[in-house]
């Protein structure tokens, strides 16, 4: 699988390292999908160090996020909230059919008083349902909507395929010129694995079905383009990559990228769907260019569902051969990804387990006339986890083994200790050892039954050298840390400030973090959980350099050399001396009006890579109604140095909530005959709400590695653990998400009938 980061271990660096340099393997996000590449870095393990964890004051502690007061009072300005003088509000018209040639008459829209501009989007060819085909700007959003309604669209409709079944049928309309069903894997010879399966004493076989999920970010996609003519523009964008905006925007505005400043002060969720301008951002630019006035274009909710990405669904046909000793002997799968007009992220099967046995995977995709899938938190992994962990439980029950023991046997040697430690901890927290059904599901006739399930994750989470960070110390003692990076709600802004404050012996409030602006130092886009491991080491380096530069300036005043100095709370002093000290403010006064500025870049030794993570769920199943209630979820996660324990727990629990939601509720529903997306709203596309939340426990294993991103790992195993817990509770194996009551009742019926 090309997108599997752990599969490229044997790659060699491109050439021998230059003098004073060494090669490290780093994760880079390309459109949110993490790929591993070699990067040459300075070979010095000295310099900035995280230092002893026990002595940390702000890092690795529970530090409330610095923008909290802004967010709880409504002061925080998101892209949706930007209001500029003379600003026009815009909205889009979506194609109401999946495939067509469209001709538009915009004249009626333009006649409406208050409508300022109406433009066509695209080239008149529609290949997927809901593609934005026109945009209208007006003095109010209400009038812009009137404008959209007044557009006359004439569709020359073409046959379409909305579902994989339609697309794979004989004589299906062509969605992709290379064919609707495309085989992506190279190896076609399964004979060896077929033989190994044949020879296995126990075999488990099944087909897993995974629906298309939507990112459903609360802040929709879009931008506010502040262009008033001339040679400069500012683009406020709801994006996961500050630096992904200017090049696209400049193209549409007829400017050079360095004439366009991108701003991302706060952003309301991305989860992998927000890189670059998108059709909606480009439309905002075109309208602003035409009007020479600011344009606000944020998608409405229905457009967001239709045209702002999704997590690819799929189908996994799996066959596993197991020995009587519980060892998996052979694994065969056919993966079919459903990514709309795109091919979808790879679903890396076999997932974690059974990788060094006879393995054959055929990887295919089926194209439909639906919006392209995009990366979504842990691209491909939650899908692979669902079928793999389900199949693992089925195998364990088939050979009559404890679920954890079966996993122990089939984990890769190098990871066994890690995962078993995490699984055992989950088992202890959720009461597995006292649970009455550890080797077989509960088949009693109790009305409400309780079950437990487990699943694990893996992710890279490493960093790379795309960040440039500046720390400024002013003569009056104020300190700023600047980076163009974006805070998606992960706590980026807070750790920027806390790392610098920690290094300089200051209180958190004494350091101001300024981020989310493309005029600040470059930073990577937030994809593949690569932000923290890239940015935090760079911030640390800048802070370290700032401290050393300050010591140089202050040393004469203390009659010492720079190397003798150290920081203490609010002051700088000669190490080991009680009297030779200078208060922070006085120390900074020696800097003169220019103050001091220090730069930082990525330090490979301050980051780590490669994490696991285990989760367990306890559910109750009402066998009369089929209702599932998740009672409890626990997670144990490694992630190197935890930058902020408060934000990290939020992040981990947030991932668990999202996977609960994925497992129990989420599914895009289309009408294949009428060509409609039936649940493009929050009433019919349900996501987890307050009353769906179980008791939760999220624990971190501290390990001595540097910073590692863990947000993706958090979302990978939860729904699989829930599906396994349902099976453990009542014997119904659901191989299709969402795990709804109707499927459970049908499963119970089938069990009864034997």
């Amino acid at each position: 699988m090309a997108l599997d980061p752990l599969r490229s271990e044997d790659d060699k660096p491109p050439r021998p390292a230059a003098k004073g340099k060494r090669w490290v393997r780093v994760t880079k996000a390309v459109n949110g999908i993490d790929t591993e590449v070699w990067e040459e870095v300075a070979d010095e393990a000295g310099g900035a160090q995280w230092g002893a964890r026990e002595s940390m004051r702000l890092i690795s502690r529970e530090t409330p996020r610095v923008e909290g007061p802004d967010k709880v009072t409504g002061r925080a300005v998101f892209t949706h909230d930007v209001r500029l003088p003379g600003m026009a509000y815009a909205c889009v018209l979506r194609s109401r059919v999946p495939a067509a040639k469209v001709t538009l008459d915009l004249s009626r829209a333009r006649q409406i008083p208050g409508v300022l501009a109406a433009i066509e989007l695209g080239d008149g060819e529609v290949r997927w349902l809901g593609r934005p085909i026109a945009a209208v700007a007006a003095t109010t959003p209400e009038i812009a909507e009137d404008g959209v309604r007044a557009i006359l669209a004439t569709y020359e409709e073409q046959p379409f395929a909305l579902t994989p079944e339609q697309a794979a049928a004989e004589n299906a309309p062509k969605v992709n010129s290379r064919g609707n069903v495309r085989v992506l894997s190279k190896n076609t010879d399964s004979r060896e694995v077929d033989q190994a399966l044949e020879a296995s004493p126990v075999r488990v076989k099944g087909t897993w079905k995974i629906p298309v999920q939507h990112h459903a970010t609360l802040e929709t996609h879009g931008a506010v383009v502040d262009y008033r003519g001339g040679a400069e523009a500012t683009v406020y964008a709801s994006t996961q990559g500050t630096f992904t905006i200017s090049p696209d925007a400049a193209g549409r505005l007829g400017l050079r990228p360095n004439q366009v400043t991108a701003v991302v002060e706060h952003m309301g969720g991305g989860f992998g769907s927000k890189f670059g301008m998108g059709i909606e951002g480009e439309a905002a630019c075109l309208l602003a260019k035409e009007l020479a006035r600011p344009v606000h274009l944020m998608l409405d909710r229905a457009s967001e569902f239709h045209a702002a990405g999704n997590r690819s669904g799929g189908e996994h046909q799996i066959e596993i051969g197991v020995g009587r000793d519980g060892k998996i002997l052979a694994f065969k799968a056919r993966v079919t990804r459903h990514g709309g007009v795109a091919q979808g992220s790879g679903h890396p099967l076999p997932y974690i387990y059974a990788r060094d046995n006879a393995v054959f995977v055929e990887d295919r995709c089926i194209h439909t006339n639906m919006d392209a899938s995009r990366a979504m938190r842990g691209p491909g992994h939650p899908q692979a986890s669902f079928s793999m962990e389900g199949a693992m439980d089925e195998c364990a029950y088939a050979v009559g083994m404890d679920l954890l023991e079966f996993r122990r046997i089939n984990l890769p040697d190098a990871k066994r200790a890690l995962y078993m430690r995490q699984l055992e901890r989950c088992a202890e927290l959720i009461g597995w050892r006292t649970h009455p059904h550890t080797r077989a599901p509960d088949l009693s006739d109790a009305e409400v039954k309780v079950g437990i399930g487990f699943a694990i994750a893996r992710w890279g989470g490493g960093g790379n050298g795309q960040c440039k960070v500046e720390v400024r110390i002013a003569q009056d003692g104020s300190v700023e840390v600047l980076s163009g990076t974006q805070d998606l709600g992960t706590g980026t802004r807070t750790y920027c400030a806390s790392i610098v404050a920690e290094e300089l012996g200051l209180e958190l409030a004494a350091v101001r973090a300024r981020i989310g602006r493309s005029t600040f130092g470059s930073a990577n886009a937030s994809g593949g959980s690569t932000t923290s491991a890239s940015l935090a080491p760079s911030v640390k380096h800048a802070a370290h350099n700032a401290r050393l530069a300050l010591f140089e300036k202050v040393a004469p005043a203390l009659g010492a050399t720079a190397s003798e100095l150290e920081v203490a709370p609010g002051e700088i002093r000669v190490a080991g001396s009680a009297s030779r000290r200078i208060a922070w403010k006085d120390a900074c006064a020696v800097l003169g009006p220019a103050g001091l500025s220090a730069q930082g870049e990525w330090q490979a030794h301050l980051a780590g890579n490669d994490i696991g993570g285990a989760q367990a769920a306890k559910v109750s199943v009402d066998t009369l109604t089929g209702e599932v209630k998740v009672l409890e979820m626990v997670a144990v996660q490694d992630c190197g140095l935890v930058l902020n324990r408060l934000a990290a727990v939020s992040q981990l629990q947030g991932g668990m909530v999202q996977s609960l939601s994925y497992g129990l509720f989420e599914e895009r529903v289309v009408d294949p005959d009428l060509g409609l997306f039936l649940n493009a709203n929050f009433e019919d596309y349900k996501i987890a709400g307050a009353q769906d939340i179980p008791a939760m426990k999220a624990l971190f294993e501290d390990d001595p590695r540097g910073v590692i991103g863990m947000s993706e790992a958090a979302i990978i195993p939860g729904h699989s653990a829930i599906a396994n817990a349902i099976h453990n509770a009542c014997g119904v194996r659901l191989r299709e998400m969402p795990l709804t009551a109707d499927k459970i009742l049908m499963g119970l019926e089938a069990l009864k009938r034997g």
Binding site: R83, T140, N681
Partner: protein, 216 residues
């Protein structure tokens, strides 16, 4: 969430306006003609009969204790009025679904939480509107707001104003609200980042603090 915006409720308090007639008005607009008639005076008359309004109307709203004049179309929601027609703009309430299914736009009308995307601005005339910006005195935080910060009840923060408004109405009613009651009070709010566990902790903690202070 109680829906204080149904025409019946509104009619019992204030002369109200049939929503259908607004949408009719909108239809006229869509067809390309605007009838520029300011008829808000009729809206404030004593009659309980439905009132037809068209074009732009000038109304006075009481927002966060201050009287504010705005000129809006009768079909303009309270949410869009707050966000687009007030100076300075009150953008704390968020537009997420625009149809009453996410709670991000929650404000208080006479102390009760409502979806401001499901409330017309003209229906809010004569009622006390409180938005997230006006919940605490300037420069201060309510117990609940502080607890949200301390317990990390916010991640991306887009849903946060809505949750704060829903739960603060609940705690205002009953500072000893149970976890179950708190969950119910924000069951009309969605959070995609999954902050729920921290939000509940914050709410319970704020309740404790409010009780210790004796009331608010």
């Amino acid at each position: 969430m109680s829906d204080a915006t149904s025409p019946h409720d509104a009619a019992s308090r204030e002369p109200s306006l049939s929503r259908r007639s607004f949408f009719k008005g909108a239809g006229v607009v869509a067809a390309g003609g605007l009838v520029g008639e300011a008829v808000h005076a009729a809206a404030r008359g004593a009659s309980l009969e439905p009132v037809r309004m068209e074009g732009t109307v000038e109304i006075e709203l009481e927002i966060n204790g201050a009287r504010t004049k705005v000129a809006v179309e009768p079909r303009t929601t309270l949410l869009n009025t707050l966000r687009n027609h007030c100076a300075p703009p009150l953008t704390g309430a968020k537009l997420v679904c625009d149809r009453g299914s996410c709670g991000a736009c929650t404000v208080h009308l006479d102390g009760a939480p409502v979806y401001s995307c499901m409330t017309l601005a003209v229906d809010a005339v004569g009622r006390k509107i409180t938005t997230i910006e006006g919940l605490a005195s300037p420069g201060e935080l309510t117990e609940l707001q502080s607890a949200f910060c301390a317990h990390d009840g916010t991640m991306c923060g887009f849903c946060t104003p809505g949750f704060v408004m829903s739960i603060s109405a609940c705690l205002e009613n009953d500072p000893s609200a149970s976890l179950d009651e708190i969950q119910r009070s924000c069951s009309g709010n969605l959070c995609r980042c999954g902050t729920y566990p921290q939000v509940f902790e914050a709410a319970l903690d704020a309740g404790r603090k409010l009780r210790a202070k004796g009331g608010r």
